[in-house]
């Protein structure tokens, strides 16, 4: 699959150049910053300057999901995509205001440690530890998979080799450099990823709107060279979306907007906010600076740096939407000879594939996922050729052909090669029509009205022949589509290609595209290394030092930390290469579980001195239990091995528990309900249960006091 892609040698050479340069920089920094003690290994000695710590936090925070996937998600979702922007940045505010200052004052390395000490219970510690490791792991596996996608898409190596290279790099600088090595490497990675994101965004913004600031470009009119009537960019997108049956790009809710209603948008956003606030790898960042004052400035720098990417992503999303959907610059209406280079490149990876289901030789990228032509009405898409055939008098522009842009990454290699070689021939070979039917269809295709776009010709067409023609078209589409989906294909291109392909869509220079690739790798590696360090410190500190061997020496703890991070890299790499089916689904829900489990326990632990062990532990169990149960019922097919097992345990799909049975809330947003349940249960039980001991109350008092400005980082004293 790779050799064709790499026919574009210029891009390949640039990519190799950038990847080698950036990786050498990371390794060089790691070597210079290598450490010898646990303090340096777990919290970088607590002496990183605030702006540098802010950059490292930003690189930690902005994962492969932020860099590669987020703009693609927004591009497809329009307004509702804002939940990711608000969820992840709003969560940072919660973290910086509600949690971080107090956890820093508490002075231990991890969230499970705080929960264990505050509720004076090893059960609580263990629950929080399991949640933290689960959340971190699903997140790390996602990063590793991202590394594999980037490498396979551009360097022509197998995804497994890509993951292996990424693993080796992270292994070296995390095991030797610890937090110190990771922190300074992340500073370099921040610059790589932010410039890689901004350069193409600025270039495309200039090209489409004439504005050098992408956020301003989003609000501007397009240049006459793009559209002579110069509409606002977003108005143009709304029209394009409508023209091809997609919901409005900017409308918030209602018939015309995305799949989520107000309640769902709210719940998903809230779950992301509370969930990110609980992500352990960012909390630990508040320990790596000297004073509490520096910690606050570092939080400000971090969100400032993060906002550079987050304010630009909506513009990239909108630009990409234009290049995908537009019938001049984009794919719609293109014939096999007119397909743009970026499409041909990505076609090789199977993440986007045009399958000419109706055999008309033209691409149709629409929101019509059925097999018959539809038209747009205020009630949504309805069949265009219903009885009575009043359609013929209608304006042809509102006709939506069945969607032909699919993804075929999952289908067998031999079938994939045939499909890529000739999308039309593949359909003909798999249309399930008899010989006589094929001949008849061929004859009808040559009629004057067969393009179905000429009202005049259609009005004059013999009804019976036209009916037969439509039936044959539909049969051909149905059979071929069924075959493709059965083989493992799916509707709509993979959203992860959007950011990586946009510079190519806008025909920017090869080195820009190559730089974006290096940026994607930087984003994935920086987040993966930060999370792996948290996993290893959880194991070495919370499990080994606190539970198994409290008398462990400094050297022993450091060794356990290094071994744990090495093992964690290998496990994460293994699952990155062989992702179990459920991982992709679970990553999106890791936030929900974090929100429902430790967020309420930490907040109540800090702001109430009355909440004791029993209510907190019960609350956590209820929150996790409800959230996990709901997610399992919603995603039974992938989580419970396969469809048969799911049906045997929970019942047939689309019935009872396997519908969104809690007020229609999406599985991604259910963490919000779990979190509320956790709060309610804990608060309701508190008056009937024992108050915390004097020792715990004294501890809560101490974390509320201002930090002594002359003291070193509190964590440094442990």
């Amino acid at each position: 699959m790779n050799e064709t892609l790499l026919a574009m040698t210029g891009l390949k050479i640039w990519t190799i150049v950038f990847v080698v340069i950036t990786f050498s920089i990371y390794l060089g920094i790691a070597w210079l910053a290598r450490v010898k003690d646990t303090k340096g290994f777990f919290i970088a000695g607590g002496g990183v300057p605030a702006p540098a710590n802010g950059m490292a936090t930003a690189a930690d925070w902005m994962s492969a999901a932020s860099f590669i996937s987020m703009a693609g998600l927004i591009s497809g979702m329009g307004f509702a995509g804002g939940v990711y922007l608000m969820g992840w940045t709003g969560g940072y505010v919660l973290l910086a205001l509600l949690l971080a200052p107090y956890l820093r004052k508490f002075g231990h390395f991890t969230v499970p440690d705080f929960i264990g000490d505050r509720y004076d219970s090893s059960t609580a510690r263990l629950i929080a530890l399991l949640c933290a490791i689960f959340v971190s792991f699903t997140y790390v596996v996602g990063q590793m998979k991202g590394v594999g996608v980037v490498f396979s898409g551009f360097l022509g190596v197998a995804p497994a080799t890509g993951v292996f290279i990424g693993m080796a790099i992270v292994f070296v600088y995390a095991v030797f450099g610890g937090m110190k090595g990771i922190t300074y490497t992340q500073v370099a990675q921040f610059w790589v990823l932010i410039t890689a994101f901004l350069i193409p965004a600025v270039a495309i913004s200039l090209k489409l709107t004439g504005s050098a600031i992408p956020s301003v470009g989003l609000a501007s009119e397009v240049l006459p060279s793009v559209d002579p009537s110069q509409p606002y960019l977003l108005d143009k997108l709304n029209n394009l979306n409508q023209q091809f049956g997609f919901g409005s790009y900017t409308d918030a809710y209602g018939e015309n907007a995305g799949k989520w209603n107000k309640l769902n948008v709210f719940c998903v956003c809230m779950a992301l906010m509370a969930g990110t606030a609980g992500l352990p790898h960012v909390i630990v960042r508040f320990y790596t600076v000297k004073s509490v004052k520096a910690a606050r400035w570092s939080a400000f720098w971090a969100l400032g740096f993060i906002s550079l990417l987050y304010l630009t992503a909506p513009s990239v999303a909108a630009f990409a939407r234009y290049y995908m959907v537009d019938d001049i610059a984009g794919l719609n209406g293109k014939t096999v000879d007119e397909l743009p280079q970026w499409y041909l490149d990505w076609n090789q990876t199977g993440l986007i594939a045009w399958v000419d289901f109706d055999g008309d030789g033209k691409v149709a990228f629409t929101n019509n996922l059925t097999t018959e032509v539809k038209r747009v009405t205020p009630q949504g898409l309805v069949p265009a050729f219903d009885e009575g055939m009043e359609w013929a008098l209608a304006d042809r522009k509102d006709f939506i052909a069945p969607n032909e842009l699919m993804r075929i990454g999952g289908i067998p290699a031999s079938e994939r090669a045939k499909l890529i070689a000739d999308p039309g021939a593949w359909v003909e070979a798999n249309d399930g029509l008899t010989g006589a039917e094929k001949i008849e269809l061929e004859r009808l295709k040559n009629q004057a009205w067969s393009s179905l776009t000429d009202s005049q010709a259609l009005r004059e067409a013999p009804r019976e022949e036209l009916g037969r023609y439509l039936d044959l078209l539909r049969a051909q589409d149905e059979n071929a589509r069924e075959k493709l989906l059965a083989l493992g294909g799916a509707h709509h291109p993979d959203r992860d290609i959007i950011v990586l392909a946009t510079p190519q869509m806008a025909q920017l220079a090869d080195w820009v595209v190559a730089f974006v690739i290096a940026g994607g790798l930087a984003a994935a590696l920086s987040t993966a290394s930060g999370l792996l360090l948290v996993i290893s410190s959880s194991v070495a500190h919370d499990l080994y030092y606190k539970v198994m061997n409290p008398r462990a020496s400094e050297q022993q703890r450091l060794l356990v930390g290094r071994v744990a991070i090495g093992v964690a890299v290998c496990i994460a790499g293994y699952f990155g290469i062989n992702p179990p089916g459920f991982v992709g689904e679970v990553v999106a829900f890791a936030f929900g579980l974090a929100a429902a489990s430790f967020f309420p326990a930490i907040v109540l632990g800090i702001f109430s001195k009355r909440v004791g062990t029993v209510p907190a532990v019960t609350g956590m169990l209820v929150g996790i239990g409800f959230t996990a149960f709901y997610i399992v019922t919603q995603k039974a097919d992938v989580i419970l091995l396969n469809a048969e097992v799911a049906e045997a345990i929970i019942g047939p799909a689309g019935q009872g528990l396997r519908t969104p049975w809690f007020f229609g809330i999406d599985a991604q947003g259910i963490g919000t309900v779990g979190m509320v349940l956790n709060f309610v249960v804990t608060v309701a039980m508190t008056p009937f249960c024992a108050a915390p001991s004097a020792k715990v109350r004294a501890m809560v008092d101490s974390i509320r006091e201002p930090e002594d400005p002359d003291a070193l980082s509190p964590a440094a004293s442990h």
Binding site: G82, V93, L218, A219, D251, A252, F266, R296, F300, S307
Partner: protein, 108 residues
């Protein structure tokens, strides 16, 4: 005050700490109120209503969801850093004054 009396010199310090915590909670609540109003309110709950107006070519609700809320969050963290650093400095100043006063009192 029903709490058992500790060393008399600690009482003003305890009051100072309590006052510090109250002001800390006030600052935090105000900032979180803005956070909720702009992010959850303008960006989600009232977004459809706000969409009737436009900022340049961007409907207002959409703008809050994808631009305005993020910019607001950055400003909130800036204000928090300034306010809390000032509050800390103020506390340490008062605590130092208390300490000097009690030492002087002890000497007299």
């Amino acid at each position: 005050m029903s709490a058992p009396r500790s060393a008399p010199a600690d009482e003003p310090l305890a009051r100072l700490k309590a006052a510090y915590w109250r002001r800390n909670v006030t600052i935090m609540s105000c900032l979180l109120a803005v956070w909720a109003f702009v992010g959850l309110g303008c960006g989600i709950l009232w977004a459809d209503w706000l969409n009737q107006w436009s900022l340049g070519g961007v409907p207002l609700g959409f703008w809050f969801a994808q631009q305005g809320s993020i910019a607001t969050f950055v400003v909130l963290i800036l204000i928090y850093a300034l306010a809390m650093n000032w509050l800390d400095a103020d506390y340490h100043c008062r605590a130092a004054a208390l300490k000097t006063a009690s030492e002087n009192g002890g000497a007299a």
